[in-house]
């Protein structure tokens, strides 16, 4: 009896009040029809996941948390950030849940709520997007330099031969390429951000 009371307290301690609209919120923010409410908790997703060993929660657990309304706990989980977008779980899911796309939604919500634990992945995505918004194309040298200097300075000496190899073999451009319609692209993205409700 006492254990069950303690467990109840534990849950209410970590996550203030369950947000019962959270499932709806996640579904609404996902591309296509998420089908998250169809999850039968079979665990096929976690069993198929190549990187599940490094996740705080398996996808199945994460979906249970979303349905229980544990918003902050779900957004703090590293699971969406460790997801490699390989779609193994998606093709195996007996309920056709759009698992990978739900992971993208959780990432964007965690960024908005600033609830991610490790800044490496959000920073990498943001740097990538900055380059794309600036030039219209990705710019690998700029991206790699900025990201590795900030997050992996100690890996740089070991990676120098690779970087030099890529540059001398003309596989990494020194200067970025800017598309002609960059102003058009920026106008489109600015409108899209307005529609999304972010400045």
């Amino acid at each position: 009896m006492t254990t069950s009371i303690q467990e109840t307290q534990l849950i209410s301690e970590t996550s203030e009040i369950p947000n019962l609209r959270f499932l709806e919120e996640v579904s609404a923010a996902t591309a296509g029809v998420a089908r998250l409410e169809m999850c039968i908790q079979c665990g096929t997703c976690g069993g198929s996941c190549p990187s599940a060993a490094d996740m705080d929660h398996t996808p199945r657990m994460l979906f249970a948390m979303i349905r229980a309304g544990l918003r902050d706990d779900a957004l703090r989980s590293n699971t969406p950030w460790i997801c490699v977008s390989c779609y193994h779980c998606v093709v195996r899911c007996p309920q056709d849940v759009h698992i990978t796309d739900v992971m993208y939604t959780l990432k964007s919500m965690a960024i908005q709520a600033k609830l991610y634990k490790d800044a490496k992945a959000p920073d990498f995505s943001q740097t990538f997007v900055d380059m794309v918004e600036n030039f219209g194309r990705s710019y690998e040298l700029g991206l790699a330099t900025r990201h590795y200097l900030k997050h992996f300075p100690l890996r740089l000496p070991g990676m120098a031969p690779m970087g030099i190899g890529l540059i001398t073999k003309k596989r990494m451009d020194i200067t970025p390429h800017r598309i002609e319609g960059i102003d058009q692209l920026r106008a489109i993205l600015a409108r899209a951000k307005q529609l999304e409700g972010i400045s």
Partner: protein
């Protein structure tokens, strides 16, 4: 003549230049005409989708809108890169599945004077087009130098056979398209069990240990099957397996040497095209030992001999040494 709209994607012009060069080299023999979408932009890879929904889909859809505008005759867009292919297909598919997304995206496109009606294009991967439109019989008939004796591991990666919105592939986990193509080229093809497993994607930049484990599995499995090299259809897979193999080896104290090349490069070799015209020599894990065995020679340092010989005599004043005839010529 098979004519298609072509979306190259950023990596074709940088890290996967060998893929681009070899594709252009085999186009004529395959009777394949690729018309590049004018002024295309990055598809956002897997990064923009994780930041915000509408901008990510608007970014992808600018390309769809440009392609639809440019389309004359062909409404099929061919993408050689797995991530680009999936993003273009995904945007088209989800805007149909959920019309409100399509409406939002079109409102955004309007700001740039563009519009796109979901479902008006067909998005296909290069391998799909080569196998299902050009066909193995045509390819077989063009092979002049079969790759007999080369033991290859066909590696598709994740995003081509999955999630497969248009049901084009024979299987989600063990498709045999690439196997059949490589067999048609005369190569010895292993039944690679990890052919659609993940290379780690952007993980070398996020969580290196996660990435190295995924790379190790692939390379270890290919080595266990005594494959001479891995053959891929994806710039990201090639980059990860090739460029991070050295770091992965140091991480696990292993000593793997498993080259990875693009399938278009092998098609080119079998068509009798010179290795130097197929972008060979750009790999960090040298495929020469493997290719030597089938009599393909890649001149040492095709790219790295780069330092140009000074031809003009008007350079920095240098002392003329006795016997230094070249200068006095």
């Amino acid at each position: 003549m098979n004519k298609y709209l072509f979306y190259p994607g950023c990596s074709m012009e940088a890290s996967a230049r060998a893929y681009n060069v070899s594709l252009m080299a085999i186009c004529e023999t395959l009777d394949l005409e690729l018309e590049e979408i004018h002024d295309w932009n990055c598809c956002g890879a897997t990064e923009y989708l994780g930041i915000s929904l509408t901008p990510a889909y608007a970014l992808i859809s600018r390309n769809l809108a440009l392609a639809a505008k440019q389309a004359n005759g062909s409404h099929t867009v061919v993408a050689p890169c797995s991530a680009c292919y999936l993003n273009l297909a995904k945007a088209d598919h989800y805007m149909l599945e959920r019309p409100s997304l399509g409406e939002k995206v079109n409102l955004a496109l309007e700001a740039g004077g563009l519009q796109y009606k979901p479902g008006s294009l067909e998005i296909r991967h290069l391998l799909d087009v080569i196998i299902n439109e050009i066909g193995l019989d045509t390819i077989k008939s063009k092979v002049v130098k079969p790759l007999a004796g080369l033991r290859v591991a066909p590696y598709l990666g994740c995003m081509v056979p999955r999630p497969d919105y248009a049901h084009r592939w024979s299987d989600h986990e063990h498709p045999d398209e690439l196997d059949r193509l490589l067999k048609a080229l005369g190569a010895e093809v292993i039944d690679f069990p990890l052919k659609t497993h993940c290379c780690g994607g952007h993980m070398p930049q996020i969580s290196p240990s996660t990435a190295f484990e995924l790379l190790r599995r692939l390379i270890h499995s290919a080595a266990q099957y005594n494959a001479d090299l891995l053959v891929t259809v994806c710039p990201m897979c090639q980059m990860n397996l090739d460029a991070f193999q050295h770091e992965m080896n140091r991480f696990y104290r292993t000593n793997y040497h498993m080259p990875i090349v693009f399938f278009t490069q092998l098609i080119g070799l079998a068509f009798g095209i010179k290795a130097t015209d197929l972008g060979f020599g750009k790999e960090l894990v040298d495929p020469r030992p493997a290719l030597d065995r089938i009599g393909v020679e890649i001149p040492v340092s095709v790219e790295t001999k780069a330092r140009p010989k000074r031809t003009k005599k008007t350079g920095l004043p240098m002392p003329i040494m006795p016997g230094d005839e070249e200068v006095n010529e």
